[in-house]
């Protein structure tokens, strides 16, 4: 009888432990620093590093991404000449940019940053009017990929917000007050480009100059 009671108590304790474990969300496996690396494209040993602070709801950021960043990725990042690091800088005037940054960071944590970033800028007009960002992200990913991103978005919201806040703080340290703000570093010297975006024609010539000198 005593043995049965003991086993019953042991079983209840084990069951309670299992329930508690299931109720506790798993710890986030990323930090602001690891997310920063996940939002970077190219080789960190590239001779040129470009840091951009941008807002997903900013039209100039969209134009810069589509007109300059995309060809730059094809011609300079993929060939190991440029290491491109994206940082979030959601502006207070944009109602949904923080949420968009949260989704993008969740996608970065899951390893799907590039397609989600592309989708957010491509469909900016749609989601910035309605705030419906999740369908835009879902359209860019497979169902299985979307489930991973959703899990991170729902369970690690505090860590995602911390990552966005970290990017914002870094930008404020550089006295950034508008987007996109772009900094080019080569041979230890960092040059701020005129804010608001730069055409690919001029960016290309500048990068070629830096690579040649």
């Amino acid at each position: 009888m005593k043995q049965v009671r003991f086993r019953l108590i042991l079983g209840l304790i084990a069951g309670a432990a299992l329930v508690a474990a299931a109720a506790t969300p798993p710890q986030a496996h990323f930090t602001p620093q690891s997310l920063s690396a996940a939002k970077a494209l190219g080789s960190s040993s590239a001779p040129i590093r470009i840091d951009e602070w941008a807002d997903y709801e900013c039209p100039a950021c969209r134009n810069f991404y589509q007109g300059t960043v995309r060809p730059m990725i094809d011609n300079y990042v993929s060939t190991g000449k440029v290491y491109f690091v994206y940082h979030d800088f959601p502006l207070a005037m944009h109602a949904y940019s923080r949420d968009a940054a949260r989704w993008a960071n969740a996608a970065a944590a899951a390893g799907f940053f590039e397609p989600v970033q592309q989708a957010l800028f491509a469909k900016q007009d749609d989601w910035s009017a309605t705030g419906k960002i999740e369908p835009v992200v879902a359209a860019a990913l497979s169902p299985a990929e979307m489930r991973k991103v959703q899990l991170i978005y729902q369970q690690d919201a505090a860590q995602l917000d911390a990552a966005v806040a970290s990017d914002l703080a870094m930008g404020q340290q550089r006295n950034i007050d508008q987007t996109p703000s772009i900094f080019v570093t080569a041979r230890g010297n960092t040059q701020a480009l005129p804010p608001g975006g730069v055409s690919y024609t001029l960016m290309k010539q500048y990068l070629d100059y830096l690579l040649a000198h």
Partner: protein, 143 residues
Amino acid sequence: MTWWLTLAGRLFIGALFIWAAYSKLRNPWMLFAMAVDSYQMLPIWAVEFVARTLPWAELVLGAMLIFGIWVRWAAVGTSAMLAVFVTGVVRAYAKGLEINCGCFSNNEPLTKFTIVRDATLLAISLAVAVMAFLAHRRARHSS
């Protein structure tokens, strides 16, 4: 008195233009081109042309004013350039473009102060040009 004012104006505008030229020429021309492009006034070929030539024009005109070479025409040149600059900054400000001036460096935001400053420089440059022409006419009549 007029002579001293003309000299002071000449040296001031001349030094400013040389400084503006130096601040642009010490960096690759593409950076100044990016600043010009941000005004959204010119096609890209014109942006590149302006970026490659304008700093040299500033340098030459500034040196002409400093060394007293063809002062009347140098002052007309600086006045024309400043008139274009004032037009550009007023237009950009009116359009709400949040850009950098590109006047002396890449990091100076375009504000109301930029308009006031450039308009003041234009007035000084015009005054130098007018006084230089008057002085030339007086010299011709007295000789």
